[in-house]
Amino acid sequence: MTTGPDTRRDGADARHRGASVGSSDVKQWFIREVLPLEAALMQFFQRNWRNQSDIYDLRQEVYLRVYRAAQDELPERPKQFVFATARNLLVDRVRHEQVVPIEAVADLEALEATSDAPWPDQVAEARDELRHLQAALDRLPPQARQVVVLARIEGLSRKEIADRMGIAETTVANYLARGIQTLVDIALGETPNTRRGS
């Protein structure tokens, strides 16, 4: 897939968006309805797509399509809409790129069950959540972890962190960006208890 035309179209969308739905409404809807589905969505891609290195890209493409559609009209059934979009995307990829045998998406029909993924909302699940996110933090490289802690917990500035750790200010920003990206991936995409009874 080439990116040029897409990017230009996106730009136009961004400038002329909101024909029917206000941009702030779309954003709130997306945060409220779509992002909590990320763990289930990632699970769906992991099961149905062989090349695991593609799945972050697939995720963003689904989000982009969903977001764009929501600018015209907020889908009434977000979960169904997200997973239908995901499935269509995989089908498109298989057809156009012919990189994956068709069997890879053979169990797409079984998707509806997967998509029924409640967001954990019980206090009882809080401990799992806590352990999970602590483990996420532990997974960061030591220096990135330290930068995250100093920036978030200590509230230190870029320069203060750089001075304290004896590294360059640009390095501080890079570590922090990497830390944010990793923690967000884990917090949204790998949250435990996203499936009832699992």
């Binding site: 990116t3 897409d6 990017t7 996106d10 730009g11 969308d13 961004a14 400038r15 968006r17 954003k27 997306f30 945060i31 409220r32 992002l35 909590p36 972050y56 890209d57 995720r59 963003q60 493409e61 989000y63 982009l64 977001y67 967001w119 954990p120 909302d121 019980q122 206090v123 699940e125 809080a126 401990r127 959540e129 806590l130 996110l133 602590q134 996420a136 933090l137 995250v148 802690v149 920036a151 978030r152 917990i153 509230g155 230190l156 500035s157 870029r158 962190i161 501080v172 920003a173 890079n174 922090l176 960006a177 830390g179 944010i180 990206q181 923690l183 967000v184 991936d185 917090a187 949204l188």
Partner: protein, 324 residues
């Protein structure tokens, strides 16, 4: 061909994280914001990546905001959270605490809460973000923590703030129609019947006025600055370190007077005590004193008046009247 060119989504995701990092640790100027806005406008992919990254980070932010070393302490007036007590020890591991669950449903990190002191009261509070607030006598504040900002309304009285700075989540004090925005700070705010006084002890803060009558709407305060603002005026003066220190005497339980008239001193004392000092003699009102007195010791004040100025003391119910 670079990898970025082939994987635009990953690129946008990475850049979104970089923007967040930049904004978080600063410096963050209007020019930076304009640059971010431009990047967001460049493609919907950028916007979507940023919305996701911000909301996702916000989620871990909420979790960390519940990290809570202060709540267990004796001096804290903050309400306990018994439902989560079991995980408090684990939360000390710093970053992430429980109870951020159902995040998409929660409009804010915590419900608004009020804290108050009676006349003569003194209370220290540690908020969930580590910010410490000390309430002086006869004070009422209301805290409201949202994911994007921390807000405290000083409804009446005086409070000393030691703010845990977070560039990503500004700390704002609302009082008497003005706003004090933390830029990494320790400061004292007093709301005396609509008259606002902000003393900057350490760091930096911005004072913004909501009033249209004031030409200068905003001023950045640095250590030693004392701003006095009313509905129609905003003045900033520089105060020597010692006087700033004296202003915080109440934190140690004392009131420090230096070159203070007896009338002013009495008014200050009366903030802390139900027994009010009345100076009935006009000439005595302008006598100047310098003393450090326990805030709750009305008798000590009377002694000073009697022994140093040779004034007469009359005790009535609820009053100490000073005459010549």
């Amino acid at each position: 061909m670079t990898e970025q060119a082939l994987v635009p989504a990953a690129d946008a995701t990475e850049q979104a994280a970089q923007w967040l990092a930049r904004r978080m640790i600063g410096p963050w100027t209007e020019a930076d914001q304009a640059e971010l806005d431009q990047w967001l406008g460049e493609s919907l992919a950028n916007e979507v990546a940023f919305v996701r990254m911000e909301a996702g980070w916000d989620r871990t932010e909420r979790l960390s905001a519940l990290r809570d070393p202060g709540f267990g302490s004796q001096r804290s007036a903050a309400p306990a959270r018994p439902r989560y007590w079991g995980v408090r020890a684990a939360a000390a591991l710093f970053l992430l605490s429980a109870a951020g669950i159902g995040w998409a449903l929660l409009p804010s990190t915590s419900k608004p809460e009020s804290f108050s002191t009676p006349v003569g009261g003194h209370k220290a509070i540690t908020l969930t973000d580590g910010t410490q607030i000390e309430l002086n006598t006869n004070t009422l504040i209301r805290t409201e923590f949202r994911s994007s900002r921390r807000q405290v309304a000083l409804i009446k009285g005086e409070a000393y703030f030691q703010v845990r700075h977070d560039a990503n989540r500004p700390f704002v004090v609302l009082a008497a129609g003005h706003r004090v925005i933390d830029l990494g700070t320790k400061f004292l705010v007093r709301n005396d019947a609509g008259q606002l006084r902000v003393s900057l002890i350490e760091g930096k803060a911005e004072l913004q006025s909501a009033s249209q009558d004031i030409q200068q709407h905003s001023v950045v305060l640095t250590p030693g600055d004392v701003a006095v603002a009313s509905a129609s005026s905003l003045n900033v003066a520089r105060m020597p370190n010692k006087e700033l220190h004296d202003e915080l005497g109440w934190r140690r339980g004392v009131i420090v007077f230096s070159h203070t008239t007896l009338a002013q001193a009495a008014a200050e004392f009366n903030r802390y005590n139900e027994t009010k000092i009345v100076i009935a003699d006009e000439a005595a009102r302008d006598r100047v004193i310098g003393a450090t007195l326990p805030a709750h010791d009305v008798e000590a004040f009377a002694d000073v008046a009697r022994e140093i100025f040779g004034l007469k003391i009359q005790k009535r119910d609820g009053e100490i009247v000073i005459t010549r």
